[in-house]
Amino acid sequence: MMAGAAARRVAGSRRAPPSPLQRAAVTGLVFGILGLYLAIVGILAMIHGRAIIVGVLTLGQATLVAIGLGTGAMIVRGDGEHGAWSWSTLLRSLFAGAIAGGVLALLVVAMDALDLRAIFIALSPALFEMLTFDLGLAGGVLVLIGGSAALAALGALLTLGPRAFRRHVLIGCIAVIFFGVFQELIQIMMQYGDIIGAVRETIYTWEGLTPEGAILIFVIATAISLLAARLRGGERSDAETPPAQRRNARIAKAAVAVLLLVLFPLLAGSYIGQVMMLVGLYILMGMGLNLEVGLAGLLDLGFVAFFAVGAYTTALLTADSPHALAAFTAIPSLSYWEAMPIAVLVSVIVGVLFGIPVLGVRGDYLAVATMGLGEIVRVIVQSDAAAPLLAGAQGILQIPKPWLGNIELSDPVDLFYLTLACAAVAAYCAWRLENSRLGRAWMAVRDDEDVAQALGINLVKVKLLAYGLGAAFAGLAGSIFAVMLTSIYPSSFQLLVSINVLALIIVGGMAACPA
């Protein structure tokens, strides 16, 4: 019913050129209806249960505040670019805010008078309490209308205010909301370590931010934003500085990024270490697959096979289990550092063997063929026929963690550094390859096989090299994967892994190493 009225009002305003006052009314209505919608579908009540600052602000209330502020901001925006400060703007914002609040107030009144819940299940007593702020009907309505008007005026003022100031305040608010909404995740990350734990206790309870924490985060975020703006302003002014200096700046930035990467898991604890470790493994595989898909244009959906080969080779060579080679051959059980190069080598060999049958296959067919090969590897590993050797679906257990001197790299964070180091070496190799003769040959093959061949490129050689080298990266990742879990099962090597890696490099940008 109310929506109908609004539509009529909007239509009316379209017929004649709208006066500023009419526009304000429409803006207020639109925002009010937005709030109404959120309330009716139940989002408002739901997110009201989520505290941002304990005992002060919930996410639901924050939404209401945002609606109020937005109304005012829209009024100013509507005045055009050069909307200047005037009493009329302020009054109109107040008016629009009051209307927005009024719409919600109408809802409250209606909820009180009629049994709307029969139709809209979301209009619960809890929502009623939230919208009236526990003040009863009359008080609630007054607060809704008055508060909304005041907020709209504030929003208008903010929008009119100096731009820089507004941005920093906004960033501060967003930071607070971010830390509030993702509090569980962030708290889990911060559980480890004494200092961080202490910090966590000051800014968080388990329900949300404490008021002090919120202020702290707001101040810090605003300060960082200010600082960043200052820095950026400085940078802009020296845009004409010689490129050497700018390159230095870029190197410095990269160094900071690397430093953050190195320090972050140390601060963030095992959980995040584990996550970043997986990210690292995917990066490794991504770089490998990028050689195949991005540079050489060989769409390979069986990439996970190389990953599996790397993992199984490592497992068989190092594990303390009846399936390890050491258990029934003369080969001694190797340390991880001895096993890793062998795993990579075996992956390369498998990669080349993989490449041979699909040499003549192109495009989509190649994707299907490699997908098949990838599945074959998994099925073989899982089968009973290979079970005596590869342990079938039971997997291989008790793979020892690597030792570095006397230190066992058992924590995910330690292994993360191993991955990071490998990824760094691999990235360097990939980067060198990309700019090498071979890299260019790959790109030529990707763009036009026949012509590449006509220019003297040995298709067989470069394609097999692409498979082999791509497989090396995956083998390395697989090898680390094995020691990370200390046990491996065929079910870890699903087709989905290949697709994930492919998605990774597509999103990151084909043939772009930094990505």
Binding site: R437, R440, A441, M443, A444, R446, D447, D448, D450, V451, A452, Q453, A454, L455, G456, I457, N458, L459
Partner: protein
């Protein structure tokens, strides 16, 4: 002895005989052209020379050496270089990289750099576009890239397949001028063209193909004036 000798080759696509005994000889420093209608077997002949197809009978010799069972990249390494039909440059590489790819089978870095300079002198337009991705060039410029790429290999013989295809009349003129200029620098050229008028105009020697056979041979000028040729191809 001719530089390139094609001696009675028969080429099959499965069971269909595409070339029914074709013989062509290209002498050093000549422009020899192969003209004919669509489907006459011109491109097939080139594919046989560059080793993508293998003739079932007959022989192809370069400077007396047989190319019969060599893979394409080795034939390319011997100096038989193609400017393929439809240009087929590496669209996602830069012009510069395309040129470098042309010199893929060479190792003399300094000479390659010199050759690149020569190419840029021959095609000044490419100089401005050296760092541009080749796929974004115009058709005529792409033809220049394709030609320059082939020349970067220092070919003993340059095979050009329909270089005028899909170009504007002005560009076609330009392409044929370039072909003549390259030839005057001492490069042997085997030119396959549908545009018989232009091709025979610059060729020392011409072969006319029709459904897998050579039906006429002669000096370029003579063929131009030949009644049969005029009726069949020039209208």
């Amino acid at each position: 002895m001719a530089l390139l000798e094609i001696d009675d080759i028969h080429v099959f696509y499965d069971k269909i005989e595409a070339l029914k005994g074709v013989s062509i000889a290209v002498d050093e420093k000549q422009i020899v052209t192969l003209v004919g209608a669509n489907g006459a077997g011109k491109t097939t002949t080139l594919r046989a020379i560059s080793g993508i197809l293998h003739p079932r009978a007959g022989e192809i010799r370069l400077g007396g050496e047989s190319l019969a069972d060599l893979p394409p990249h080795e034939i390319a390494g011997m100096g038989v270089v193609q400017v393929p039909e439809g240009r087929r440059i590496f669209a996602r590489l830069t012009v510069d990289e395309n040129l470098q790819m042309g010199a893929f089978s060479r190792n003399d870095r300094r000479a390659i750099a010199e050759d690149k300079e020569r190419m840029l002198a021959l095609f000044p337009r490419l100089k401005e576009r050296l760092k541009q991705v080749a796929g974004t060039l115009s058709g005529g410029e792409q033809q220049m890239v394709a030609t320059a790429r082939a020349l970067m290999a220092r070919p003993r013989i340059l095979l050009m397949d329909e270089p005028s295809m899909g170009l504007s009349p002005v560009m076609v003129e330009h392409v044929f001028e370039t072909i003549r200029a390259i030839n005057q620098q001492g490069v042997t050229i085997l030119l396959v063209e549908q545009n018989a008028l232009m091709a025979l105009g610059i060729a020392d020697f011409g072969y006319v193909m029709e459904s897998g056979r050579i039906v006429l041979t002669g000096r370029g000028q003579d063929l131009l004036e030949d009644e049969n040729v005029q009726r069949a191809y020039l209208g």
